[in-house]
Amino acid sequence: MNDVLGKTEEVVKKAKALGADGVIAKTTFGRYRQVRFSNNQIDITVAWNDHVTDVALAWKKRLVATQIRDFKDVDANLKRLFDLAKVSKENPMFGGFAKGNFRYTKSKADEKLRELENMTDYVSEAINAAKKEAGSQIDSGGILFTKFEDIYLVSSEGPIGTDSRSAIELSIRVFSEREASGHGVECSSSLKDFKPARAGAKAGEIAVLAKNPKVGDEGVYDIIFDPLIFGSLLSVWGGMASAFNVMVQQSVFVNKLGEKVAPEVVSLRDNPAAYSMANRIFDDEGVPTRENVFIEHGVLKTYLHNTSTAKIFKTETTANAGLVAPNPWSIEMDNGDISKNELFEEMKKGLYLTNTWYTRFQNYAKGDFSTIPRDGIFLIEKGEVKQSLKDIRISDNILSMLGNIAGISKERQQVHWWGEVSRPCLAPYVLIKNVHITKSK
């Protein structure tokens, strides 16, 4: 390990010797594994081994970057990169890299995920749990994914550290009928907390409830969002909290710092803690990561920053640095004070949605968008599932929906899913009032 850190440090020293003002080198040894399955059988098992050193070099407010895949090629790569910096254009807004000698907490990555090879048993466990709920005739598909990364980061501005990051994820979709499906996910940073049967059972349970769906009606509904679909919304709000997205008008939070954007019960934070699939102890500038509450009791408190955007907004970095833009790592919604069951019991008439896909915006700054619910859409009356529905679309405004949150459950689940839940989220069941539903005509 120290050998790799030494070689990474060597990259920084060589770049400085060439005349760079600031340099960050981050070496990642990544080991990724995936099982893909459909029709209840394994389609393919995939392995990726990736070794790469990402280098960001600053010279006279010019930022250039490269990737080095073999330490033998360092000299040639750095010379080419520095030559590129010399002909590049100045970015007056570039605020440099974070300075300081930081102490990091110890990584809590699960070493068992470093060596895990036999993953098919976990897939079987999930499929069997789904069959137990929905019967042996189901059609199920999904993925099991594992990640183990060793990270070595050295910055010319002081930060130096190593991190290990682990994650395991199972995603399963179960069809009980051609148009009746349920989706479950199980996400964790460690094997100990990973229970694939939970995902299978949930997908199976929803798939059974979803049988015999009817086309839903247009209208305005109160809707209970399952953690999986609510994760899609949290991903959007979290992404829009990035200062970079604010600067390029891809956010509804432009000029809203300090304003009330949600009810009192809503607090959202970014927190790449040990439990999260996106666990990390420092960001890409080497700043120790932390919890950042960006919406506190309904008030937009901060954007998420790297050093450059923080300087533009006259604040401090929130340790969300990616190379160019700050990003949220792992978004949490604070839990509410009622149970999931109470949330349902109190609903006289409304919808319960479990998953969605294809979220697209007309205008990010305004927030007008639509998204297509799938995998269990239910009409709820007096707290009970009255009818399974299909073929509807949420056509609303993302800021209005944040403002119309009316209930949050105590229970929360870590969710992450292909496409829509693009970053891990700790999501509760949430009631949103007055959501607009449309359908094909």
Partner: protein, 472 residues
């Protein structure tokens, strides 16, 4: 890229007594530039290279990849893929549709070699576009510009004797603008793509197109009116025709979706065996023919051979309104008793090749755009779109107009602000009664696969006229 390592990997894999093995090596020279409001945020330049091994053994598939070019690594990677294939334990054994081995080389020509254009000139080109846009008389508070250059060398070998080398340069550009007037904003995203050299910029006419977009958005803010919802005629411009062809023809015709292999991600298809729609079913009117064609030279989705070594050709997906031919790779073709039609694509050495579109478009008719409009008493001309989506069986779709006009008695009137068509695939293509003669293409990045493989494609078509659809 070290071809001897790839050959060695194949020989090592064959030595294990596999049913099938292939090795694909890639080297990608990449450059990315990102500008915010005309200021270069960052310039990335890197070379990525590696190889993957795909093996069929005992009817299962294993895939492993690495970017470490060493024989020891090769053996580890092949062993891993072989073990994974054996462990699949499938009841239905996977087979590939038959193909003959191919030995060939193919390249995409560049009139102006990207390698000869200096970084300064590349940056200057983008800065100039931004400057022209900033001074076009429209208030544009945010302009995001990105340019990606990718020079891909590939070497593909398989256990059936194929040995294919290729070189493909591609350029892509994305521009996202926000126009603000009278306290309101409108936004537009435009993508450009080309397989070939730096001459791409001349062909695209980015500056003119973006200035047009900016003025249109201003016009929509200042003069746009909502359409009175109801049943009316709709003329779709090539951009809207193209996205509809891609979403509601190309995707549902991907055989891996039809077979359920993408069920937990991008979903299945409204087309399935024993269902109401299959090969031979009517899905549109007689004038609707939609093809997917990777062989259009210099198109963003161009290739001569796919990533399973199968020669590319045009596929007639919907032919005169009838479901005609699915997009296949060798695995899906074997399952449905067909032959691969060269639709297997992968974005890199570390991703499996899956069924993909290339350039999907509606075939032209014989009317002019003006003739289509002349014959509309009351309707909307939706020239371009902003928000769009479609459900995961590819049946319920929605397109929201960005540039749109009211049509009254055959004449274009005032701009319509964000008209919406939300309808089914069957209704959309069945309502088409006329198709114009000029096909235009737009570049796009098609999303599919887990992990995601955003792949370059064209969407396109002529103007099409839909009779009696609901627009709101």
């Amino acid at each position: 890229m070290e071809e001897d390592i790839i050959d060695y990997a194949l020989e090592y894999a064959r030595g294990k007594g596999v049913e099938y093995a292939e090795v694909r090596g890639l080297s990608q020279v990449e450059e990315r530039m990102m500008l915010r409001n005309g200021i270069l945020e960052a310039y990335l330049s890197a070379v990525d290279s590696g190889f993957c091994v795909r093996i069929i053994a005992d009817g299962g598939i294993g895939f492993a990849s690495s970017n470490k070019w060493a024989r020891e690594e090769v053996r580890e990677i092949v062993d891993l893929a072989f073990r994974y294939a054996k462990n699949a334990n499938r009841k239905d054994k996977i087979k590939f549709a038959e193909e003959k081995g191919v030995k060939t080389k193919w390249v995409v020509d560049q009139k102006e070699k990207i390698e000869d254009v200096s970084p300064e000139d590349k940056i200057a080109k983008l800065v100039n576009i931004n400057q022209s846009l900033s001074s076009c008389g429209v208030n544009i508070p945010a302009i995001m510009t990105a340019c990606m250059i990718n020079l891909t060398s590939k070497y593909y070998v398989n256990s059936e004797g194929s040995r294919i080398s290729s070189f493909v340069p591609k350029i892509g550009a994305y521009i996202f603008i926000t126009v603000a007037e009278q306290g309101k904003t409108e936004q537009a995203y435009e993508q450009f793509g080309y397989s070939g050299g730096w001459e791409a910029f001349q062909k695209w006419g980015i500056t003119e197109k973006l200035i047009h977009n900016a003025k249109i958005l201003k016009n929509v803010i200042m003069k746009g009116k909502a359409v009175k919802a109801g049943t009316m005629d709709l003329v779709c411009g090539p951009e809207v025709t193209g996205i509809a062809a891609h979403e509601s023809c190309g995707h549902p015709m991907e055989a891996d979706r039809i077979l359920g292999r993408e069920m937990s991600q991008a979903g299945k298809s409204f087309i399935f065996e024993g269902g109401p729609f299959w090969i031979g079913s009517r899905i549109g009117s007689d004038v609707v023919t939609i093809v997917d064609d990777p062989t259009i030279e210099h198109s963003y989705g161009y290739y001569a051979f796919d990533d399973e070594g199968v020669k590319a050709r045009r596929r007639f997906l919907y032919k005169n309104g009838i479901i005609n031919e699915f997009l296949h790779n060798r695995e899906s073709a074997a399952r449905l008793g067909a032959r691969s039609n060269g639709s297997s694509r992968s974005v890199n050495y570390d991703r499996e090749a899956i069924v993909r579109m290339a350039n999907t478009f509606v075939i032209s008719g014989d009317m002019t755009e003006e003739e289509l409009i002349e014959d509309v008493k009351y309707g909307v001309y939706m020239k371009s779109f902003t928000e769009w989506n479609i459900d995961d069986k590819r049946f319920n779709q929605r397109y929201v107009g960005r540039e749109a006009y009211l049509i009254e008695n055959g004449e274009l009137k005032h701009p319509i602000a964000r008209p919406v068509i939300e309808t089914t695939t069957l209704k959309f293509w069945s309502a088409v009664d006329a198709v114009s003669e000029k096909v235009e293409f737009d570049a796009a990045t098609c999303g599919k696969g887990d992990p995601a493989q955003g792949i370059p494609v064209y969407t396109g078509g002529p103007c099409i006229r839909l009779r009696g659809v609901y627009v709101k």
